[in-house]
Symmetry: C2
Subunit: 278 residues, 2 copies
């Protein structure tokens, strides 16, 4: 692991790092915020997965999470949203598939399957690296994310409830099998067989087994993607069906961007701190 840069922030350190990823087969970058509490021991980790077109820098720059993380004593980790430099033909042709749009799946379709393994990267390789290199309490890990990353957070935590003890999302793609973004990504990365898609659809996964804690979701009602891409009502119904505890808040006037996310960031961090029994 190499350090790209580190910056003091709210008494802690916001850093950018890179490493040679075995899962991805390429260099991957990620951001970590270490709160001042690391001076006195290991602290819980909260992973944030970002949305389409974002990088490992987006959350650190735009979400305004460091202030409350410094108060609560949370390590914040934000990976990139796809491999970079895989050189798959056409990977940069669209903003919602390929580069910047890994969808947090392990691709099974050639040629994507070689490098586009973001699910295993995010749930296995990156946590191992983080807990080796940073003073992280592995027994207390949570996950959240936005849009494509909200989808990713729901999927990763629902499939690994022993690993993640807290979960929330901002405007997640909550039923990707039904929406244009999800269909395009799943067809491209996973192929035509929709049975495979279900392993990456939060509204399907929650029916198999609910997450042990309450899931917090914020959704802006002025979000231009709400009607066609996000389907929170499908996830809400699936949660009801499976007995999943869910707090879904529909926020009047808020759109899909980071001005929405930053407004409710503190609530999410305190939700995670509560679930992680801090």
């Amino acid at each position: 692991m190499k350090t790209i840069s580190e910056h003091k922030c709210f008494g802690g350190v916001q850093g950018y790092y890179a490493h040679a990823s075995k899962e991805i087969g390429l260099e991957m970058k990620f951001a970590v915020y270490q709160p001042p509490q690391i001076a006195s021991g290991r602290v819980p980790i909260l992973y944030y997965l970002a949305g389409l077109t974002c990088t490992e820098e987006t959350f650190a720059i735009k979400a305004g999470a460091q202030r409350v993380a410094a108060e609560l004593g949370l390590i914040l980790v934000a990976p990139d949203t796809s491999p970079r430099g895989a050189n798959v033909p056409g990977e940069a042709d669209s903003w919602d598939f390929g580069v910047g749009a890994g969808f947090y799946v392990d691709a099974t379709q050639v040629p994507w399957s070689k490098h586009y393994r973001m699910y295993s990267y995010v749930t296995r390789e990156l946590p191992e690296l983080i807990t080796t290199k940073f003073p992280a309490d592995t027994a207390r890990q949570g996950m959240f994310g936005h849009s494509m990353g909200g989808h990713g957070a729901l999927v990763c935590a629902l499939r690994n409830p022993g690993q993640y003890r807290s979960l929330s999302a901002f405007a997640p793609i909550a039923a990707p099998m039904r929406c244009p973004w999800g269909k395009k990504a799943f067809k491209g990365y996973l192929g035509e067989d929709q049975a495979r898609w279900r392993d990456y659809d939060a509204s399907e996964l929650v029916k198999r087994a609910p997450f042990p804690g309450t899931i917090l979701v914020d959704q802006g009602l002025a979000d231009k993607f709400l009607a066609d891409q996000l389907y929170p009502e499908v996830f809400e119904a699936a949660c009801r069906e499976s007995g999943q505890k869910l707090t879904i808040r529909r926020q009047e006037g808020y759109d899909h961007g980071y001005f929405f996310i930053s407004t409710f960031m503190e609530d999410h961090l305190r939700h995670h701190a509560g679930q992680l029994r801090m």
Copy 2:
């Protein structure tokens, strides 16, 4: 004035706007945050001037100021850092002069003098526009900024103490006549006569007449530009000489970027609220 976009943020509205500027002779963009308190009347305005290479978007995205502005009831205004599209030969050749580097002066040298009139734009035309188009209390205006914009804020407020009632800066270029950035800019925009430079040098201006309120300055001690470009000690000595009330805080470990700024943003906003008797 036209609206580029508006986004709900902490109960208020973060907007980006453009207008045909008479001072600049080109379209200029700026950002405005309106807090929720505008629903019940006019509120104070705080102007933020950004640093080299920044645009009207930088402060809104990176500084994390909206949360406290929403609490205190402050309008935040952030202009761009130079004309755009002036097409002066060589204006985009360096990052510290020309585009993104207007230095908040009225250029007197041809060909810069036609469009590079950021001092008059920021202190005259923009405030008139803001108070016409937004529910702003013109009797309560403050100014702050970062680096080149910290220089700009100090200069604008020291020259117009009746107009601005509160003043602060993050890592300002505090004695531009002595540093490479300032010498290059002043020579290019104002010519060889250093007598003219003094009208744009905070450490000279404060000796002519102190600002009525206390000036707050934060300076990171891990700032790579501190030794060669910023000279806070020169400004500090000038303030002492002229009886200027100054609170200068040297922050261990902090660098020149927005992770530093966001850490101390709340302190600055509360400083302004206090000076504006909110």
